[in-house]
Amino acid sequence: MALEQSACQKCESVLVSRLFCFSCNALQTFPNEVDFFEVLGFPISFEIKSAELEERYQQLSLELHPDFYGSAPEAEKRLSESATAILNTAFNTLREPTSRADYLLHLLCKKQKLDERSLPDGFLGEMFFLQESLDELLESGNEAELSGMREDLNGRQKNIEADYFPLFKKFEDNPEDPEILQQLQTHLNAERYLRRLLDRIPAID
């Protein structure tokens, strides 16, 4: 999906990031609901190379950070602080596949109403069962079985993550198909139940 390019508020050059103009080094004022792809200057797509994302984050940090506005006027100082805050949030959101998928899904389905509680058939019952088994394992302190459970859950989490990319790709090719986004929502919902279980398993060295 093509990114709608904004222009610098000072020199009118095309902006890479909505927060800063690399041509004239001017901080940009930005709306509250600025989207995270625009913040980091990437097209709205699931496909982001993590090395490129990291590099852009560093590049922008080196321009926006309040450390470089120590002697600037108060308004500029404050702008640098809130711009860095949103840059940090945007980077943290887009860096991890699940939070990126979740964020992107909400951007894409602004008009479409999704069933936000959808889950694969029988999934909830299985989660309840796993939670109960986990209670027992935690009580008995069976480390071998606990780490077996963790590996199993980690594996399932990885499988879900691996599906994000092909699903978003499919949606780009068939933007009229409402089922694809619903499928993504189902994946994301399931992932959260798995994460909740994983959070309860203590780490063993």
Binding site: R117, L124, R196
Partner: protein
């Protein structure tokens, strides 16, 4: 935020934790989840086949304090009510009773859904 004694009590000593016999024809089971946080809640009711009154209720919740207190309160409230009366319990009543903050409103929704799911399970098993 100051919470009433009653609320903290529901959290510290939740009522009616446990299970009812799922295979009993007079038992309805509701299993619901909150994808916002991964909470899972099971709520069961035991119905008197003649009066259609809920005579017992049990729950088990894997979730935060608000979810536990919401389901504990829900089991208290449904006991002694007819299944039709229980069907009218709204999540906002739970919110009010427990003074839940907005971030925790979904916990009350979960409890309302669990009651409805348990009743509809009972009804579907006792159609005639």
């Amino acid at each position: 935020m100051a919470y009433s004694e009653k609320v903290i009590d529901h959290y510290n000593e939740p009522r009616n934790v446990g299970s009812l016999d799922k295979s009993d024809m007079n038992v309805g089971t509701g299993l619901v989840g909150a994808p916002e946080c991964g909470d899972v809640m099971k709520l069961q009711i035991q119905v008197d086949p003649l009066t259609k009154e809920i005579v017992d209720a049990k729950f088990k919740t894997f979730g935060c304090g608000s979810a536990i207190a919401s389901s504990s309160l829900a089991t208290e409230w449904v006991k002694g009510k007819s299944i039709d009366e229980a069907m009218t319990i709204q999540n906002v009543e739970i919110v009010e009773e427990l003074s839940l903050p907005p971030v925790k409103i979904h916990c009350s929704v979960l409890a309302e859904d669990a009651i409805k799911a348990a009743i509809s399970d009972y009804k579907s098993r006792n159609k005639d």
